[in-house]
Amino acid sequence: MGLLSYIVKRTLFSIPVIIVISILCFGIIQLPPGDYADAYAAVAASTGGGSVSKEYLEKIRERYGLDQPFWIQYWRWVKGFPEGDFGIAMSLQGTPVTDLLKERLPMTLFLNFSALIFALMIALPIGIYSATHQYSLLDYLLTFIAFIGIAIPGFILAVFIIAISIFWFDSSYIGRLYSNEFIGKAWNMDKTIDFLKHLPVPIITIGIAQTSNTMRIMRGNMLDVLKQPFIQTARSKGLSEPVVNWKHAARIAINPIISRIGVYLPEIIATEMLVSIVLNLNTIGPLFYDSLIAQDMYLAGTILLVISIILVLGNLIADVALALSDPRIRHELN
């Protein structure tokens, strides 16, 4: 019961936070001088479409209520929330924002969480190995690789990978999520396999920085835990080293990492956005980027809000996971 009420309490508390964030998000998008109409005019001018007449710009403003004060515009946006209406994307012929999100959000979430799980699945065993074979050749090698992984920014890695793939591998699996023939078709076995073939590159690119970081943290945690007295007790019972390392040491070393998932998530989301822009994937990243340039406030604001909500949820899930994993925390909740 304690856990359930904790979840409920946290969810309730996050609501005012989200409200404030929504105001912030909307405000930030509105900050640049000018508005969507101006951006529209600027784009038209630079792409050689000639200048747009003032009357046309005024019409646009009127249509989207761009000349209203901040709070009215904010209300226009927010009042649609209960019905799932997040406004329309002015820069995309008035497509409802909800539709755009529905199109791209699932893939975004999938990529983000896959990258997180990938990072953990690789990093944890390697971290454990590194700690138990401290100062071995492999340990030094892995540490070195980890450092490189942390240092290379995700988007540069994405560029790199594209380069390598063009030179050496079959490049049709890079830079997109589906091969041409499958776009828009229903999901069947073939499409699934094709999708899976496209997955490794984005997930690895997104997850590598996190993997490297987690590897090192896990290694450090393990080294700390292995010094604790209860490890000696475990050995004195006659348990073999693998059991001691995994069932006892790793079990505890993992907890700080679980509690930090709340910090990892934003980093992964950030990397995913940049990598998606470079690889031109069909996720929220490129959409956000375009909407910022066009000053499409409903679209940009909603995306910002949605990302923040994802974070809040992610944090909540991480905290619940921590409570499940560490009985001491569970106890405090009661």
């Binding site: 007790t233 004195s236 019972k237 006659g238 348990l239 505890i252 001491r328």
Partner: protein, 334 residues
């Protein structure tokens, strides 16, 4: 094998620590015997090597810094067999068969010595199922019985509790229960009551004495507290800077301590009748990197002679009472 009432026979055991600043001789050639059904006390100040001696009986001494340089640790599991523990591989199958099974150990800090995220039941069952081929149900019964044996109330309920929910005394009982769950022939207790309140200390000591008699097992009690030695042990060895300086039955040692160090230890205990300043041993324990030539106690000894500076004293037998001190040489070896 003539002496079939000997369980453990340690001969000239030496354990060295290899660290950055040099080599430390933590255990510098100690020999003693533990007889079946009897308890041996090992007393000395912090850093004298008593804990390392105990740990090396189970090859639990810190690796990789600590290494057994020479010596034998003969263990007689039954009439016909003799195993030299010192020659077994660290964490090998053979030594792990003995740990928790034939030879068990309990440690000083019960809070830190129990795994914080496993409940009591899990920690008990782990040992039981490792060494005994029983099914789950039987194992559970054994576990509950073990808890009952250490006089923990409501044992079934305790099985589901976690270490942080128990008091210090209870945790120590749990440790004892785990250690005794497979009916070991030898229990090694490393300062088991040092971290406990005085009243709890008495309870735990009595418990240990009772259990020892009940199970007919041998015991090795490590402590710096002469009071505990007097209460619990049949025989005792006194250690100083890695060497044994005096060996005798507890009664004989208390009746007539021979070695100057032992005498000083007895003198420095506060008694009700003590008035004025407490006596302390002048000087301090030597720097482990700068152990003096000759008798290591010489700089602090009130009755030191010339030869004490030059040669390490041999062991002299004064009738079931051995001392390593030139004062008792009777002309031998001078």
């Amino acid at each position: 094998m003539k002496e079939n009432n000997v369980l453990v026979d340690v001969r000239d055991l030496a354990v060295n620590f290899h660290i950055e600043q040099g080599i430390v001789r933590a255990v510098d050639g100690v020999s003693f015997k533990i007889e079946k059904g009897k308890s041996l006390g090992v007393v000395g100040e912090s850093g004298c090597g008593k804990t390392i001696t105990a740990l090396s009986l189970l090859l639990l001494h810190p690796q990789p810094e600590g290494q057994i340089e020479r010596g034998n640790i003969f263990f007689y599991p039954d009439r016909e067999n003799r195993i030299d523990i010192a020659k077994l591989g660290i964490n090998s199958k053979q030594i792990r068969k003995r740990r928790g099974n034939d030879i068990s150990m309990i440690f000083q800090e019960p809070m830190m010595s129990l795994n914080p995220v496993h409940n009591i039941g899990q920690q008990l069952l782990e040992t039981i199922r490792l060494h005994q081929k029983v099914d789950k149900k039987t194992a559970k019964e054994i576990a509950i019985e073990a808890l009952r044996r250490v006089r923990i109330s409501a044992p079934e309920r305790r099985m589901k509790e976690y270490p942080f929910q128990l008091s210090g005394g209870m945790r120590q009982r749990v440790m004892i229960a785990i250690a005794l769950s497979c009916n070991p022939k030898l229990l090694i207790a490393d300062e088991p009551t040092t971290a406990l309140d005085v009243t709890i200390e008495a309870e735990i000591l009595n418990l240990i004495i009772d259990l020892q008699k009940e199970l007919g097992m041998s015991m090795m009690m490590i402590t710096h507290d002469l009071g505990v030695i007097g209460e619990v042990t049949d025989d005792v060895v006194v250690m100083y800077v890695g060497k044994i300086v005096e060996k005798a039955s507890t009664k004989k040692l208390f009746d007539e301590p021979l070695h100057p160090y032992t005498k000083a230890l007895f003198k420095s205990r506060p008694e009700i009748r003590t008035q004025g300043r407490l006596s302390s041993i002048k000087g301090s324990v030597p720097n482990p990197y700068m152990i003096p030539k000759g008798c290591s106690f010489e700089p602090r000894c009130e009755v030191a002679m010339d030869i004490c500076k030059k040669k390490v004293p041999e062991f002299f037998d004064l009738g079931e009472h051995h001392v390593s001190c030139w004062k008792y040489s009777n002309g031998e070896g001078l």
